[in-house]
Amino acid sequence: MNTKNRRAHSKIRVLLAKGGLDGHDRGVKVIARALRDSGMEVIYTGLRQSVNTIVISAVQEDVDVVAVSVLSGAHMTLLPMIWKGLKKYGKGNVLLTGGGIIPLEDQKRLSKLGIGKMFGPGDSTAEIIDYILGMLN
């Protein structure tokens, strides 16, 4: 994954997407606030976004980061499809990250595809912010 030739922006723009059918946005709202408070522009898609709407939104908003929250367990289906869609629009240098209940083996398989780190319950918002800043600079 190659996020280091992102053109220099004055602001980091993050698409915060809720994939899957579940309605759990507690974590997403907390992260949105934390990212905003760290100076980023957070575009929230709302619940139950399809792969297609997430990809199109990311491209229209020309974001640096796509952070997908999938708590329904469908991450292994959805994340690779989102990654494929982003690459189709030439957005292979966007950082695709996110959160959910992601077992280690799934994490490894996602990394092999070029997808970024996935965060789980217990990871702090500070860690997530540091990760994003680290990957983009």
Partner: protein
Amino acid sequence: MKKHKKIFYIPKELRNLNYSKDLGNPGEFPFTRGIYPTMYAEKVWTMREFAGFGLAHDTNKRFHFLLKHGQTGLSVAFDLPTLMGYDSDDPKSIGEVGLGGVAIDSLQDMEELFRGIPLAKVSTSMTINAPAAIVFAMYLACAKKQRAKLNVLNGTIQNDILKEYIAQKEWIFPPKPSMRLVVDSVRFATQHVPKWNTISISGYHIREAGSTAVQELAFTLANGFTYVEETLKTGLNIDRFAQRFSFFFNAHQNFFEEIAKYRAARRIWARRLRYRYKARDPKSWRMRFHVQTAGCSLMAQQPENNITRTAYEALSAVLGGAQSLHTNGYDEPLCLPTNESAQIALRTQQILAHELGLTGTADPLGGSYYVEQLTSKMEAEAESYFKQIRKIGGVLPGIEENFFQKEIANASYAFQKEVEEKKRVIVGVNEYVTKEEMWKVPIFKIDAKREREQKSRLRRLKKKRNQAKVKRTLDQLKRKAETKENLMPFILEAVESYATLGEIVNSLKEVFGEYQEPPSAL
């Protein structure tokens, strides 16, 4: 954690309490001390472990396993497509079929789910909300096929749409038509399925979304009042339906606060039902509730610790007088429970019931200076929320204004900050961390071929059934949805013609519209 200014409490805390007015004996108004005189001494709480995954035949096997191992009631979890009213072959269902619950697309699946289980003899709780009326109809149709009489059926359907808009966010239609469906199902059950618990007014999800204990208490009760008021508007007598409303609370970790919460809830509900809604039958004043231990308190790191957390939480529910209890599997943060973790969860309850000497005394904490003070304090704080909600105009306007959602989001953010700043210690997560490889727990995975299997089941069903009959019942349903008639009989007809859940929901969507998520503000 709130810093208590007092470290101990003294008799004067009880000074303003009038025993018969504010506490009463267990089984006596206002039921602060419990709704039955003998509580667990006569009958232990129902051990009701939630189950559901994969396809109907998978869950059917788990049901048989649990019944064999001493579980006394069935509790069904549905997958997300079912909860949202999508069939398994809907493009929105990709990757979600059978995950987190059982996939039910039609009466055929329902029949498979309960194969070999006499519905007349078990008590079934179904955790479903937005399409609850339809799934309820499927259960009734299934019972009819087993030749069971509707009036002996025992069970609960969660059917609490208000908390969906506030917390769980699994909605389909806008609030007004959704309330109509809830009231229709209440009225139908009151007449035809009188033993059925029609709404499980839930605080569990509100708490899981990040609310405080007081918010859980206040928002849940406010929703309860709304259901009562809406049903009263149809002319139904309160004593005919109120007894079939039950509640569903969370058992979180602040031990005594949880116990006080349950006691305050009973007292508030009893008083409102008696004095505001003028219920005459004492059974209408009694709040029965189910408890689930807090999923959000369980951590993925060092998951075995979750067994301990769950045990303590379960203890608070028992000391608080719950009627039934679900204890989480320790692998809850990681995946669906394995047979092993489901068994440990059940054993946790059995140990509580048989080994700790808890069941012989009702409300053992009654009279505690601390617990009584805490109970009254929570009641007062809930009343203050009721005032605010009244000012806004009620729960529905409150939902529209994002009042509840904002309160919850703020509480949730404050909690997270406390954890990150280590003001709140979570063992194994921000303290006592061990550098071990995570996710060592055997993870129970759903086979992806389930989705394919279910889709072919659906295809076969659609070929087998009488398509003309399906269309007729759906058209009839749409026509009736435009009127004010009770929709339950027409939903039942559609269900019995083997119309799928998605087809029925889509027909209703044409009339009712779809709810749009309100824009967020932080």
